[in-house]
């Protein structure tokens, strides 16, 4: 089934070999990135890098700051430090500008447009591609690709998104992000609420996308499945960076747990 999900829109990029120490030429690089909610520091300064073609996993227990890290990259929270993407510094507190550079986040809680239809949600996913004729043709192609990935969405094109089941909404959130032709894809627990089979399929698809050159940041509670795909893993705990792992070295679940609670 994986072969079917080849992205039509992602151009192939040279994929460097994975390394736990960090990529040679990072696409996304955060230096001293920290975040706070009001006066509460939720993320202590950390360095975070994603190489071109890398899939980076972010792991950690509840409240560790995983979601906060992704939000900080987009500039959705008050941050310190600097984030650059493809060599240029990303603006802060202007998520729309960050998103239109191709940094696409599937947020926690999905953020679908409940009262709008599935079709409208997907269409808005492609907003930053513009409304011209050419982009519309490309959009059609991406749309059929998303439908291949999530046939349920095609069945429910006219349904209001808010009335769909939890898992269906999650599919929509991911599908919508894929519509944007991301240059880098950030996913916050994409498997949340999805049936085991769909989860597997999604993770597999992410692997395929990644191998075709798309950098991916994956926050995932199912550490083993995430580690299977990842080039590197950042382990957060209590709002700070606990370790950067090489998945090949993390053999067992116990070993991971040791990092979690060390």
């Amino acid at each position: 089934m994986t072969a079917a999900f080849r992205s039509p829109a992602v151009s192939p990029v040279a994929v460097p070999g994975p390394s736990a120490s960090g990529p040679a030429a990072p696409v996304l690089a955060a230096k001293g990135l920290s975040a706070r909610y009001g006066q509460v520091q939720a993320l202590a300064p950390l360095d975070f890098e994603v190489g071109s073609g890398e899939l980076v996993a972010v792991l950690g227990p509840n409240g560790a700051g995983k979601s906060t890290l992704l939000r900080a990259i987009l500039g959705l929270v008050a941050t310190g430090g600097e984030v650059s993407f493809q060599g240029t510094v990303l603006p802060r507190r202007n998520p729309a500008a960050v998103a239109s550079r191709g940094v696409v986040l599937v947020p926690e809680g999905r953020g679908i447009f409940g009262p709008m239809t599935v079709a409208e949600n997907l269409e808005l996913g492609a907003w930053s591609l513009g409304g011209g004729r050419r982009s519309r043709v490309a959009q059609e192609r991406r749309l059929s690709w998303v439908f291949e990935l999530f046939p349920r969405l095609k069945e429910r094109l006219g349904q209001t998104a808010g009335s769909m089941s939890g898992g269906e909404q999650q599919m929509l959130a991911i599908g919508r992000a894929l519509m944007a032709d991301p240059k880098i894809l950030l996913l916050d627990e994409p498997s949340l609420g999805l049936a085991p089979r769909v989860t597997e399929e999604i993770l597999e698809t992410l692997g395929v996308l990644n191998r075709s050159g798309l950098p991916v940041v994956l926050v995932e509670q199912r550490a083993p499945s995430a580690l299977k795909l990842a080039n590197r893993a950042y382990l957060l705990s209590l709002g700070r960076l606990a370790a950067v792992l090489d998945p090949r070295e993390v053999q067992s679940h116990d070993q991971l747990a040791q990092y979690y609670f060390a």
Partner: protein, 251 residues
């Protein structure tokens, strides 16, 4: 032994779509029953029918032998039927411990006069509620977050808070909609043991879950639905082997 919950031919359609189609099953006291099935199979809709959030198109729901099909959610809750939500519904402006204290509504008494005069009885009750609310937070592991506003909790923390709040109502039947979503393996394991203890304490548990570890380790009985229909029911071991379930769900 009479069933705690008896669902008979519950059916609900939305326009042309039959989201829940003549589903019947029973939940026994002190047992854990899991409902599993693919996305959009109708599990949450089934929960909504049982808890009274939406009315069934047909079918009946019995709780401890009484027909409660058309009762309002709050009336069902008063009978001891308490649920959590797939998308957490916390009282965002309240602190975690205050959230739990709201959960004690059915387990306490008092209206305007009690509020204004605050007699000894009420003071004692308030103190007990405060104490037990914190105990419940400790139980789910949120003791240290007790005074944070609920809006400041992470997603997983929020789910646990919802469980604690539901426990405050001391339910006879606790319905959990994907309680483990957003928890990692360890947290899920802890949740599993918590659920077992809840059941042993005398509360029947009905849960929806996609995490098969949790389901297999926790449930006594598993109900499988697909396209709104019940396609299998039985002990976890049997369900794991059922070809229909494998085809539809487990893959």
């Amino acid at each position: 032994m009479t069933a705690c919950l008896d669902v008979r031919d519950a059916t609900r359609s939305f326009g042309g779509l039959v989201a829940v189609n003549a589903v019947s099953f029973q939940v026994m006291p002190r047992s854990v029953t899991a409902v599993i099935g693919p996305n959009g199979a109708g599990k949450t809709t089934l929960f909504n029918l049982i808890s009274g959030a939406i009315a069934p198109s047909s079918g009946r729901i019995l709780f401890e032998g009484t027909d409660i099909t058309r009762e309002a959610p709050e009336a069902k809750a008063a009978r001891g039927l308490i649920r959590t939500f797939q998308l957490v519904k916390l009282f965002a402006d309240l602190s975690a411990v205050e959230n739990v204290k709201v959960g004690f509504h059915l387990r306490s008494r008092g209206g305007l006069l009690a509020a204004l005069l605050r007699p000894r009885r009420v003071r004692g009750m308030e103190a007990a509620i405060e104490r037990r609310a914190r105990e419940l937070l400790d139980l789910v592991g949120l003791g240290a977050a007790a005074d944070l506003p609920a809006s400041a909790l992470s997603y997983g923390q929020g789910r646990l808070l919802e469980v604690a709040r539901a426990l405050a109502a001391e339910p006879k039947l606790l319905m959990l909609d994907e309680p483990a979503a957003g928890l990692n393996a360890d947290e899920t394991a802890r949740l599993s043991s918590l659920i077992r203890r809840i059941a042993e304490g005398g509360t029947a548990v009905l849960l929806i879950e996609h995490d098969m570890h949790l389901v297999m380790n926790t449930a006594d009985d598993v109900v499988v639905v697909d396209f709104g229909k019940k396609i299998a029911q039985g002990a976890p071991d049997r369900i794991r082997q059922d070809p229909a379930v494998i085809a539809a769900y487990l893959g």
